[in-house]
Amino acid sequence: MNDLIRDSLDHCVKCTICETYCPVSQVTPLFPGPKYVGPQAERYRGAGPSADSSVDYCSGCGICTQVCPQDVKIAEINSRARAKLWEKRGVPLRNQMIARPTVIGRLGTPVAPLANWALHNRAVRGLVQSLVGIHRDAPMPSFAGRTFQSRARRHHGPAGAPAVVYFHGCGTNYYEPLVGEMVVAVLEHNGFRVIVPPQDCCGLPLQSNGNFPAARTYVRRLVDRLAPHARAGLPIVSNSTSCGLMLKREAHEILGIEDADLKVVSESMYDLCEFLLRLHDRGELRTDFTSLPMTVPYHAPCQQRGHGIGKPALDLLALVPDLHMIELDVDCCGIAGTYGLKKEKYQISMAVGERLFKDITATGSDLAACDSETCRWQITHGTGVKSVHPIELLYRAYGLDRRARAGSVSLESQTARVSG
């Protein structure tokens, strides 16, 4: 199976289209570009590890694969080359750490005030940069203090309604539990009972940091949790673009996992907005939206291309009266998961995001929307503009925020406070 990735290099006709799209090679001479590190360099990779550490500068955004007219799996080739590189050298401590959001989340959550203070303290961040290699200015979300899991455990949805399974990912669990609550509220508003199985990281950060064996362990564990529901025919939704993609495709295509459980989970996975838009297509989405007279710039995360679903958020938000979304025409915000956190890559990541930041600032809006959590944190970091998941706009348009305010949930800060 894995050979299909390498075999795809045979299709390359050297047209250079991928080169013209790669956001990283455009801003740094340290990265030789997708054609070079992908189909070209792969021919020089034998049974042993790769000799080119420059492939580590690929952010894994996946744009090259998407634009290649010949269907060369460029980003996937790079991803595997990185893994082989680290297999030889050993994954550095820093990458091991940032690749384990569950561990960090578990450590930070009980001591959230202290941890958040540290995350925002210049001196501590300076120390962390020199000791660990996480850039002092990189956007790090604040711990919410209480996990979404613990909140969901006490929540009881409408009995007897059709069920949907919610895979929330680590971002929602540790940093943005309120996004998770909004997801649940919107789904319940549409008549679903939301099942939130206990769940850990999907392993994506481990994969993008080149630790394939550990990534496989994580994704298998998660799949074990989700598979019984998938087998029961229930759809699984995720509001995390990249984690959803991990289960939909990457665990199989990049990590090379072949198993029936993963297959059934993949087939049941929906991106949240994709799921809602499908409901709408079937005439099953409630459209009792109230007016939201706002103009909001929208950035589609690059990972969303891998889903092959277009930009469902824009179609959904077009249903909301008086809401005007501005579709931004920039491919990448630069963060690419944990890429932009790294000391040696922070500047690159900010340079990649620069055009996006400019375009957002130019709209004059004080709010932006984007599906992926790390991209939202990067946008806020780069522009000072608060950015939200599209679900939050739907949530407001359904009037669920007013209802919530009347009830118990407070919604002062729906997104994680971003440090750096």
Binding site: D10, G33, Y44, A51, D52
Partner: protein, 523 residues
Amino acid sequence: MAAQNPSLSSLEADVLVIGGGSTGVGVARDAALRGFSTILVERRDLADGTTGRFHGLLHSGGRYAVKDPSAARECIAENRILRVTAADCVEDTGGLFVSTPWDDPEYGDQFLEGCRATGVPAEEIPVAEALRREPRVNPDIRRAFLVPDAALDPWKLVWGCARSAEEHGARILPYHRVLDLEVDGDRVVGAHVRSERSGEEFRIHATVVINAAGAWAGQIAELAHCAVNVRAGMGLMIAMNHRLVHMCVNRCKRPADGDILLPLRTACVIGTTDVFVPDPDQTEIRQDDIDLLLDEGEKLVPGFRQARALHAWAGVRPLFEDTAKVADTRDVTRSHALLDHSSREGIAGFLTITGGKTTTFRLMAEAAVDAACEQLGGPRPCTTAEVPLAGSESHTLYQISHRLAAREPVPQSEEIICECELITRSRLEDTIKQRDTTSLDDIRRLLRLAMGPCQGGFCIYRAAGILHQGGQVDHAGANQTLLDFLEERWKGVHPILHGDQLRQARLDDWIFQGILDVEHLPV
């Protein structure tokens, strides 16, 4: 290199070597190391004969262990020597012999026994282990054996020998054709040579003339009215775009067509066939042979036909035959033949060394120069088993990742001219200067320019421009070498065009015809 024309109307040497393949440069180097003044002439470029068109296997001897034990012994001995003295030309890929469903698994026992008897290290490994090492190999193989086969780069080998010979005072003259031999009574005393570049003709006088003209050795011998019966056995090979296997994978059976798939630099090569051809300069690629190789490839690696084929070419084996009437050229011995024409025909000062293999070129050279010593005043010791070739002094074996690694410290800092083969502008410019050549094909053999997937589609006109910029050629010359190159490439690409390579050829064609209008270049 010393390709400049000798301005004298005649040259003198102890030894004149005819032929610039592995055998010829091996002889020239050996003679130079023993202190003889030596001149080598080659009608085209070095390694432009069979050596530059061979399959690429540094034999462990496994292939000959059953059928030709003495060849097997020679191979393993030379294999061990070349790993040290020609390290830069050798990649230690390892070799794997497998019994596919089309092969008799019992042959494996004969094979092991043959290897044991000839001293070729061979070890049977479980099929699962073989498949772990080579995941693409046919999962239905029934037996698998490890042997110390390796991949051998012919151009590095030949140029490494040539440079080493020059360092010891030899003159290496590519593009110099022997038109005639000078015979004085019962002695060959030299040759009449023409420079193919300048057209100038001159004489080279030598005490001993060594005919190392491979499949052309018969033609050379005839010039002194000696009979050397070399038959030309044409063999076809196809290079695939990337390594489908990382080891040299052989079918475990009696040697036959299309039974070896080996990794050679970034590509992997399936081969070969064996068809007698009357004229070694006439090698035509037949579609049937292409199909045969692709089918055999499919048996070794299922899905082979879907993989991208880059290029096909043919080489001609020099097969020496002392007794006539042999039907299958493969039954002619692969061991070399050293012919001393003084004992055969009573012609002194003239030796022919032919047959053999590139793997055993050093041994062949040693035998030839030993024989030459007898006519040059007595034995002198051979040192080629110890002294490393130029470029191999550090004894570092070649690795596939070398070019990638070399580029690493300076990514993007310098323009890459040939993207597939990762050749930078300065590397190209230096090579052009050093070689003092006007031909893109010469550069190709030194650097592998334009040998990657696009087969020159994106680099060859850049290289032509650089050749012109460096003053090596005028505009007409640059156009001419570009056209020659394209014509030559096309010959190799055209027989295998399908799938991905066809798409590439279309794109290349748009560039060459649509943008450059190559058919109307002024030359």
